[in-house]
């Protein structure tokens, strides 16, 4: 489980980019990280992947500081974002050959299932692939390595509904079968309503709401979209 303690991250000019006293990501299931551009979603995911160091406090995975234990944890915690690229001149098949030879615990069954269900062209070079195909390839290269945590930074946002649904279905069943935690930064309301069980709402670097989607609806007797609107206007916990 990922746990945030007393975290502060400064941006340029000493502005506060993130300030989170306490936060726990519940597993299994998909947690949606919601908030406007600049709310701190990407920063939080980068910190959780151990790619950045906070100015104060820590993010832990199973009680271990993720930044300090990066080498040990990077196989368990995967981050999918646009910054981390695939090899442009290689095909899906080339990538699979490469990953299979490098990764010791490669799960062939998961690979075959994903290849079948995500319909990824095996011989097309990455540079010729659509964004949707590239995202699906990244999922194909991630899940067979049996990650315990999958962090997804907005990469699903500009894909069409069918592509997004196919990806969420795979993330959901992977999480359900293995108990892995999935955190997706997204503002696509319908994806969240269908696939997320927990919500974390960020505003200007602070967590203004964390709850299960069911209890939000039960408490406020209104739709999720309306709740997000109310909270963002108020800017603080009710």
């Amino acid at each position: 489980m990922i746990e945030v303690n007393d975290l502060v991250l400064y941006g340029k000019n000493g502005t506060i980019r993130l300030k989170i006293p306490e936060l726990k990501f519940h597993s299994p299931g998909i947690t949606a990280l919601v908030g406007h551009n600049g709310a701190g979603k990407s920063s939080l995911l980068k910190l959780a992947a151990g790619l950045e160091k906070s100015n104060h406090g820590s993010i832990l995975y199973d009680q271990k500081d993720i930044f300090i234990h990066y080498e040990e944890l990077k196989e368990k915690i995967h981050l999918l974002s646009w910054g981390l690229e695939l090899y442009r001149s290689l095909s899906a098949k080339d990538h699979l050959d490469l990953f299979r030879s490098i990764c010791k615990n490669w799960n062939k069954d998961i690979e075959l299932e994903l290849l079948k269900d995500l319909s990824i062209p095996t011989h097309k070079k990455v540079e010729k692939m659509s964004r949707g195909e590239q995202v699906r390839l990244r999922i194909l290269l991630s899940l067979p390595r049996s990650p315990k945590v999958i962090l997804i930074d907005e990469v699903t946002n500009d894909l069409d509904t069918d592509s997004r649904r196919a990806i969420f279905k795979k993330l959901d069943s992977y999480s359900f079968d293995t108990g892995a935690q999935v955190v997706v930064a997204t503002n696509m309301i319908e994806d969240i309503e269908r696939y997320a069980s927990d919500i974390i709402l960020l505003k200007k670097g602070e967590v203004i709401l964390q709850s299960s989607l069911d209890s939000i609806k039960e408490q406020h007797n209104t739709s999720f979209e309306e709740i997000v609107r109310i909270y963002e206007r108020k800017g603080s916990v009710l």
Binding site: K169, S197, D214, K217, S223
Partner: protein, 124 residues
Amino acid sequence: MRLQVNPHSSTPLYAQIVEQMRNQILSGSIIAGTPLPSVREISEMIEVNSLTIQKALKILEVEKFIVIRRGVGAFVSEGIVSLTQIQKEDLIKSGLSNVVSHAKELGIEKDRFGILVEECWSAQ
């Protein structure tokens, strides 16, 4: 089994699923002993996360509408007596009376109301 969920609704998805399955079991449209699709199959079918499906099935199990046999799957409980025609009609009447009084408040005529019912019926 027919499930149709509305993710935008203020009713949680698990509650929508419980309600629809309960009604279908009570109305006799899913018969006692019938095996239900797996969590994964239902999840794929209605495009809703697996935890929600699991939660709905657990509630139906606690309420004794279904039986979950480990490693085998879920089944509609034996011995559930489906509603009689009179009970079904009472159930509909109680829901309908709210709609009728609402229609009266809004000044909708009886004949016109009948036409609206007709339209809704054919639209589904």
